[in-house]
Amino acid sequence: MNEVRQNGNGAQPAIVVRDLKRRFGQQQVLNGVNIDLPTGEITTIVGPSGCGKTVFLKHLNLLLRPDSGSIVIDGADVTKLGTRGLDGVREKFGMLFQAGALFDSMSVFDNVAFPLVEKTALSRSEIRDRVLEVLKQVGLEGMERKFPSEMSGGMQKRAALARALVRRPKILMLDEPTTGLDPTRTHSIHALVRETQSKFDLTAIMVSHDVPQVFEFSDRVAYMHLGKIELFGTVKEVMASDNPNFRQFLAGRSTDEEERPLSQVIATPGR
């Protein structure tokens, strides 16, 4: 196996994953994932559908629990934490879901304000200022009274990004942020992610289908195959790799593996 594995430039990795395994029924979806996600960089995880990248992300943001292995964030193994401890770690995260996951019963303003209203003691005017500021950052000035159903897909993604950023997280996770968007919007969302990442010095972890466009906006790329990280390194290193699976994936040819309908396997939100 060709492995290109490097730590960040001397900095402490934000998240250290060791030998992470998870099985759904008969399927070993994560088969020993090892990766050090460097602080203050954008790492993009790519791979064929069903390789386990979304499931991996769901482990990183603590929606799913692994069968074995560890995820160390800020020196603490989060797989060993109880509910209260998990909530403490979650405060460091911002998460952008595939379809945005905006609350459709609330306006954009209320959606973005929601984490602040629920989890902080900020006053109304402080919340208002924070929300309007972050909406301006994502280019949704003046849209705060709209409801998600009245907005285009791209705008919904921006609003969801605003909600993910409003608590000023240290780690931002993005699950296929550009699915269902046209190339122009895809580009603008990628650029927005890059811009916010460098502005706030975030650690960003992105799962993406937009190969190779997304490489332009990434610092590092991890290639996942059959529940393992096969390649990990800077964009340059990975692009230069001669890993046959990766080359095949880049060329857009399907691999021999069966496509696994994960949405059905993980239909129930059990932990």
Binding site: L63, A99, D104
Partner: protein, 253 residues
């Protein structure tokens, strides 16, 4: 073969345990701060206030048909004077809580299962979890508490409107004596009868909200999953209402 049988039994028991644990968690979070009066009031409005007209309408017609049937039956025994007692007891002890619960299931319970199911399908429930907000506490607990508050109130309204409906037809249209109608109710309706009806409504409130929230929460994450969850929520709620009704009646009688 035996392995498969065993697996399916273990699966059923696990699911049953999950079902019970779901309620226990939700009730636990009802008691645990932070309390969210705004969420509770919104749910009382959806489940309670918005069901008012429907429950009243069904109550009226149920009472009217009881007045009609009761009068015709009692006349054969020349005891039309007992009409008020019959109508009131049947409504308060049995039909009030059961029919109100079924109507609220159809109106609010189905919508609830669909709403939570759709939130699950569009990852809104995951979004809550990631924001460190417990989705059961945020979505389920207020609904269960709202059900416990709304069901007895709606049932009481159903009973009162039903008795007036029975009076309207029995006395107003068919000509049963007016005095004995109300006098009979006052004399024969005991505190125990009323308590039985309210206790039933209270339990149905928990059962309906529990089933409907559970079905929505564990809906498969796709459109057909949501539709199936809604159907199952209504069917299972209705069955559980009637089954519980039998057991509660036999205990409380």
């Amino acid at each position: 073969m035996i392995e498969r049988l065993g697996a399916s039994i273990i699966d059923s028991i696990t699911r049953l345990g999950n079902f019970v644990l779901f309620l226990a968690t939700a009730v636990f979070y009802v008691l645990l701060p932070p309390y969210k009066p705004r969420l509770l009031i919104r749910q009382i409005r959806t489940i309670g206030a918005d069901s008012f007209f429907l429950v009243g309408l069904i109550g009226l017609f149920t009472g009217m048909v009881l007045g009609l049937q009761g009068y015709n039956t009692l006349r054969r025994f020349s005891s039309e004077g007992a009409l008020g007692t019959v109508v009131a007891l049947v409504l308060v002890r049995e039909l009030g809580p059961v029919l109100s619960a079924i109507m609220i299931t159809a109106r609010a319970g189905s919508a609830m299962a669909a709403e939570i199911g759709a939130m699950q399908a569009t990852e809104q429930v995951d979004a809550l979890t990631v924001m460190a907000i417990n989705p059961v506490q945020y979505l389920v607990s207020p609904r269960i508490l709202a059900g416990v508050i709304s069901f007895p109130l709606l049932t009481s309204i159903f009973d009162v409107i039903g008795i007036w409906g029975g009076w309207l037809i029995g006395v107003g249209l068919m000509g049963a004596p007016n005095g004995p109608f109300f006098n009979g109710i006052a004399q024969n309706m005991s505190r125990h009868d009323i308590a039985t009806g309210i206790e039933k409504a209270f339990v149905f409130g928990i059962v309906v909200m529990w089933v409907c929230c559970y079905k929505g929460y564990y809906a498969a994450r796709m459109a057909t999953g949501v539709s199936r969850a809604t159907t199952e929520a209504v069917v299972l709620s209705s069955v559980m209402i009637l089954a519980w009704d039998y057991f509660m009646t036999s205990i409380l009688l």
